[in-house]
């Protein structure tokens, strides 16, 4: 069997393969997807692990919303036993607050880093407060603690911890 015009077809096929798989090669070097963890200037450990929150945070929020508004269950017991008040307030307390160095960020800005990237429109902040001066201080007594009160890592931990959990 003879291949006619092989001198065009074979390089063309090779070129096509390269172009078609270009995204894979470009990403092979550990290219960034543009995602990073939301800023957390207070250094408090998040309610659950980073891997869990990365995948499930919206599911957690939707579940919280239904449980609080419709069932009246307002306290979240994390897998490590810490108690949290269910609500965006709890998220905002860390992710929407100015740090000790005056670098301020709103939770809306933190969320939109990823949600904006995938062009998902969040309307949470039409009603919920994206930041509140003194929110962290106000949050502390609101974290009901049946067992272990989360150690107020606060500013102390912020200096030692590079990346929020």
């Amino acid at each position: 069997m003879k291949l006619y015009h092989g001198q065009y077809i074979l390089p063309g096929l090779a070129l096509f393969l390269v172009v078609a798989t270009l995204p894979i090669w470009l990403g092979a070097g550990g290219g960034s997807s543009g995602f990073r963890s939301p800023p957390n200037p207070n250094g408090e450990r998040c309610i659950e692990s980073k891997d869990f929150m990365r995948v499930e945070h919206m599911r957690v929020l939707v579940r919280w919303r239904d449980e609080v508004v419709r069932e009246g269950n307002r306290v979240y017991v994390a897998t490590d036993g810490r108690h949290w008040e269910k609500g965006l307030k709890t998220c905002v307390a860390c992710h929407g607050y100015a740090d000790a160095h005056g670098k301020s960020t709103t939770a809306a800005a933190a969320c939109s880093e990823c949600h904006g990237y995938v062009d998902a429109k969040l309307d949470c902040w039409n009603c919920h407060h994206e930041s509140a001066a003194g929110a962290v201080e106000r949050m502390r007594p609101r974290v009901w603690s049946g067992t272990a009160m989360p150690a107020n890592a606060g500013a102390l931990a912020a200096s030692s911890r590079k990346e929020p959990q």
Partner: protein, 261 residues
């Protein structure tokens, strides 16, 4: 032929088993969110929450300046909108003649007709608003509180048409620009949803009395459990003459007004 059919049946069964296998997978995913939720011991609970407003005391207060209204609206970020057609209110002052049009006449309660008195959602035992809501956004909790879930509200305003007491307001505009003071502990609402008094369910969860009851300067407002004989509301209702708004509709309001006989 037979073998082929048998093989296909086997394959079908295997495929079905494979599909069934997915279900536990999803279930595992769902239960990855820890679900053991503790209720804080501080929360106030009741069989049926109710409010008693003593109009005799309310009448005497000269200098409260509608403390109940301001406390509530400040607490819940209720906007103060100048345009009366866009007005939003959870609790407000209304003349007795407007609240009890069928129960006051020129002899009985003549003095009440002109008295401004607090009006709010009655948290009916048979709430007409929840029956007409197409999305289940408004519903009655087991403890009798009729609450709004603004997440599910689509703004159809059926509930406003159904409510015989005018207790519901619609957000014709974004309320935030009209808020002079913002309480960061309570959300605002967005344009296009209905809102109303919630009997301060968020405060009850923290073990606190409703904002209006706390703010009332003359002690005219009482709040408690109708199912509890020791509750102040039951005692007040047993010992005093009370009226409710539009009782003929059968909605069974949970807001009682004490009047002199």
């Amino acid at each position: 032929m037979n073998f082929n059919r048998r093989a296909m049946l086997k394959l079908t069964l295997l495929a079905a088993a494979g599909l069934a296998r997915r279900r536990p997978l999803f279930a595992a995913l769902a239960s990855a969110v820890p679900s053991d939720v503790l209720k804080p011991g501080a929360a106030l609970k009741a069989g049926r929450w109710a409010m008693v407003i003593d109009l005799r005391k309310c009448r005497e207060s000269k200098d409260c300046h509608d403390a109940c209204v301001h406390a509530c609206h400040l607490e819940h970020n209720v906007p103060d909108i100048a345009n009366p057609r866009h007005e939003v209110k959870w609790i407000w002052r209304e003349r007795g003649a407007h609240l009890f049009p069928d129960q006051l006449d020129e002899f009985r309660g003549a003095a009440l007709a002109d008295q401004p008195m607090p009006a709010l959602c009655n948290h009916c035992a048979n709430p007409p608003c929840t029956r007409v809501c197409p999305t289940g956004a408004t519903f009655k909790r087991p403890d009798g509180i009729v609450v709004m879930d603004p997440h599910r509200c689509i703004g159809c305003r059926f509930c406003m048409a159904a409510c015989p007491y005018g207790s519901r307001s619609f957000n014709w505009e974004d309320p935030r620009p009209s808020l002079k003071n913002v309480n960061p502990d309570y959300p605002t609402r967005g344009k296009g949803v209905v809102e109303k008094c919630s009997f301060c369910d968020e405060r009850l969860a923290q073990g606190r009395m409703p904002a209006c009851v706390e703010a009332c300067t003359c002690g005219a407002m009482a709040f408690g459990d109708l199912r509890d004989e020791q509750s102040p509301v039951v005692k007040l209702l047993r010992e005093n003459y009370s009226i409710r708004r539009k009782p003929e509709l059968g909605t069974q309001p949970a807001v009682y007004y004490l009047v002199s006989k």
